[in-house]
Symmetry: D2
Subunit: 338 residues, 4 copies
């Protein structure tokens, strides 16, 4: 912990910061400059917020030295995490992994058609929701277990892995039964009860960044899962909320190389939620891969105009095919294959 004192702070103020740090088991080094006194504290930073020192009289500012996350940090596994599935698919390796599918499972026909289409185009996973977090209580809320059953069947028929969202801790067993990857939605990124339980799951977790979450907060949420013993976490950039309202969210693609530097965890991108508009999904999917993403989540629906949710951001199957062809051109520029 580094504490910079105000120009003109009194000896008493400085001493009282030192006392506070010592009380908290820090050893303190003092450096008195022309203008500012700077205190360096070595100790258990995890228990202390910089804010606690920052409000003390005479303190100008305070900075944490160590990262608040440990297990999610790159240093914990410098070579990077690769998540491997029984069928040989790997996330975080040289091959890009694309998960595609509708927002929600609606009917057997819909999900089978989609699975066939996305598998044919080269997707390795199917994504679809059976439990839907909707901002209005009056919107379609998903088919529940029946949806999961249909999804699993469609995936198995086309050798696809299943990723599907878990909305709260009571749904975990059900999701573990039907899905290969459990998704935590953006709205639940700081649902700590849920994260803690997922730390005990044998399944990989896809953790989406909240729309107002910093990259550090995303890694701290991953830390909740990792610290429970589940090391298989995949991060996902899906857009943050900004003043620009033309697109639903603003994708922060620079987060991809930033996460690659700070953490060993793989990171995918979701241009469907990141833009909210079908005609922007393809350019942003390409851009995500070019920025270094390990894979994509893309919404595809056989008949988006009749989708029960998120139709506006779902690609038609032939658009998805075009996208995959473009990604195959881009992949070598980032030393990837598809």
């Amino acid at each position: 912990m580094i504490v910079v004192m105000e120009a003109g702070s009194t000896e008493e103020q400085i001493q009282s910061v030192i006392d506070r740090l010592v009380m908290l088991n820090f050893s303190v080094h003092r450096s008195t400059g022309m203008i500012h006194t700077v205190l360096g504290g070595v100790g258990p930073e995890g228990d202390l917020s910089p804010d606690d020192l920052q409000v003390m009289p005479g303190v100008k500012e305070c900075h944490r030295v160590t990262s608040p996350y440990k297990l999610a940090a790159r240093a914990f596994k410098p070579e990077g995490t690769i998540i491997e599935f029984a069928n040989g698919v790997k996330i975080g390796g040289p091959e890009l992994v694309v998960a595609a599918g509708p927002c929600s499972v609606e009917t057997e026909d819909q999900i089978q058609t989609t699975a066939a289409a996305v598998a044919r185009a080269g997707a390795k996973m199917i994504r679809a929701g059976a439990f839907k977090p909707r901002s209005s209580p009056y919107s379609f809320q998903g088919l529940g277990e029946e949806g999961l059953r249909l999804l699993r069947a469609a995936a198995d028929a086309h050798d696809l892995l299943v990723v599907s969202e878990v909305m709260d801790q009571t749904q975990i067993p059900l999701l573990e039964h039907y899905a290969d990857v459990l998704q935590v939605g953006a709205r639940n990124m700081q649902n700590y009860t849920l994260l803690r339980e997922l730390g005990r799951s044998p399944r990989p977790i896809l953790l989406k960044r909240g729309i107002a979450a910093t990259i550090e907060e995303l890694l701290l949420s991953a830390e909740y899962i990792l610290s429970g013993g589940n090391y298989q976490v995949i991060l996902c950039e899906r857009g943050i909320r900004t003043f620009e309202t033309y697109t639903r969210n603003t994708m922060d693609l620079a987060a991809i190389p930033v996460v690659k530097k700070l953490s060993h965890l793989p990171i995918m991108a979701d241009p469907s939620h990141g833009t909210g508009r079908r005609d922007k999904v393809i350019p942003m999917a390409r851009a995500s891969v070019a920025a270094g993403a390990d894979g994509l989540l893309v919404e595809v629906h056989p008949d988006p105009d009749r989708a029960l949710s998120d139709g506006a951001q779902s690609l038609y199957p032939d658009q998805f095919e075009t996208l995959m062809a473009q990604l195959r051109i881009i992949a070598p520029a980032v030393d990837r294959t598809l």
Copy 2:
């Protein structure tokens, strides 16, 4: 639903929007202008997102006419909601209600001392957490039920109401047993499983605005609770996340008069979380009341420098007393008493 077609949209494009609306049980009125054709659709807007039409070819933009929330709208109860407790305290009436207390219950002594101090200064409620959502898994997570027991005892000893946070649906029965008001934290504002369950609670709910939630989304989350049959919802402005990082959040005080116009629900303000820094809490508490808030949540701790959480934003008891004296001066300017 109003759909504005692009200048130069074709007859075929216009017809296909009309067909889509008709299929969704809207009756459509068409108005052909010099530049733009505008379609007005009357029908079940709740099932349709403007985005779904906006991505259709030839569409310039699309606007919903009705609000997506009904029960939370001012029109549903034009005279405004007043929430009355057994001891006669009312939230939403002419009297300002201040809830004060520490971030977390830590010890019996701490919570008893705080209760005595805030009651003496004029608070009607004590606020404190027993279950704490912390961004790091390594931070203090609260005392759990023991904390609630201590909190209830301290409140009863000083005739205070209790407000405390519920982190997930499994904690509801416990909170209902010990608290008078169940608080939903900012991070849980869109935890729909939780909101839905709280719709069946006999207790009033204090619903905090998420740091990236629009006012409309806050009202939609309230709608989840109201639509379950629980009409006792208190909203709370506690700061949104912006680019300015000097304070932890940026309080959107204009949200207070906006909510007053859009909704019948009372709204409080939380300047402690809204600023994150003790020396900014008092000015923003005053400002919140001046902007028309129905009450305040303020963190007060007998010894903030040793608080286990949020010490930096907790007032010393004598600061709280000073604040209450200032609020008594301001209250008549907004036709309130304290």
Copy 3:
């Protein structure tokens, strides 16, 4: 400058940061911790951006110790700046100063009527624009010098000071001739050519915060003026841009106490531009004063429904009178008079 090295940074990386600092005339103190090496550099921080060190291999992060502004800092004039005018009005003293008036000067009658109304209600200054920065080239752009002449005459007839906007450096002489305070609009907060020239003006400058400017950037822009020799700068909070679009901007009222701590300059608030909607101006004006502002800028128009610009955010004269009465109640809570 404090540089925190990555855990695991090499001796060579550390040495190369030290070399860089030494080359830039810093003297460097090295502190080797268990996990991180921290380098403290004392020297000419003004010439160095933390980013320059932050991108060096092995560097985790880098923090500036001294503020980038000097003359605007509180330490430069701890007792605070009070700006006094020939007629005895003082900004920054115990009396609140309210500047009111229309967005633009439109006609002699309009400006005379407004001047009479706002003076009667207790305003000490009239505000109105003769040169209008408009986001569309097709909107009304102001009356120019004729507007300034009408404004001055109206002000003189009612013993009011004049504040009016200067859009570029060529307009300075004209504004100096007619106005008592030259206003720099939010869009020009970083127009450095203009700021530099205003540093040579004998008139006080009202510097509005840009909609995306941090508090530090606002103070740096003030520094441009101060460093030219003009010490009479009044800051103004007028709302920042956030994701919430219900109001035009989000007023960051906490900036008021923050500026009071960081700087000796007075700060006013502009709830008209801060909200963009008449019915939100009054609550936010009250809140601004309660948060500690030294004064207000409020748009008032005798007939807002026919205003050529900003009618939606202009108060009717009787609303302004009501507001002033409410502010007189609030003022003593912040040790002010009005």
Copy 4:
């Protein structure tokens, strides 16, 4: 203009909105629904802000139908604008155009070395500043005309076009003399005096998006230039300000396909300012091209560690070469060449 009245608005309120519209030369169509009355007004929308109607009693919301910009709209030139230079380089055509160079011209040697390096790697333009807008008055402010002279000479020696920033209208003649493209920086995007004057320039203008500017505001600023008669405007996405502070700005790459839809003007991307950190420039440069940009502005410096400004975001020449090689792989995916 479409005005949606509140549920429960009175006949008198409706009539008074109609009267207001009629007074402003709109013809009004009224549509009375079950819940809401909707008024459609056809007329001179340019003179009227939706806010003006929105604050009228009984009005729920109000939407403009026509775009506030005309000449910048795609409809004005559906085939798209291509800007062609004397040496045959074209911006907006099938070939990607890369402008590279240092933040500032520092010395003859520096700029000559850079010009040679970027030309060799395939850049068609050199970018460098002679007048620098710096947030601190104490930072290096550029070499002025001498810098422009050196820049022109270096460009001519390597057959490069010159793009350089103009900070205010008095500098226009100088810039026109030395540069092929005049750049308007992000901080000046709404400096209307400057924009208006540039409308009379024979040179193409590179207009950077302000860090808090919406896409619509960017197009309105372009409209200022276009409406003066200068149709050669190139837009540039260079990052917006958000809550995420790890990178200096957040690039809004979706703005690229959005601008392509709304406008006929070419759009480039500036990943150097968009990220502020060298190691993020390359991924975001790739992503910009993948998202559909017509070209790039990239900072390159022969010795970034000794650069007088923006060293942290400048690429080493060999990094630039690597980037260009990667872009050549990506280009065909977006039907481009490089």
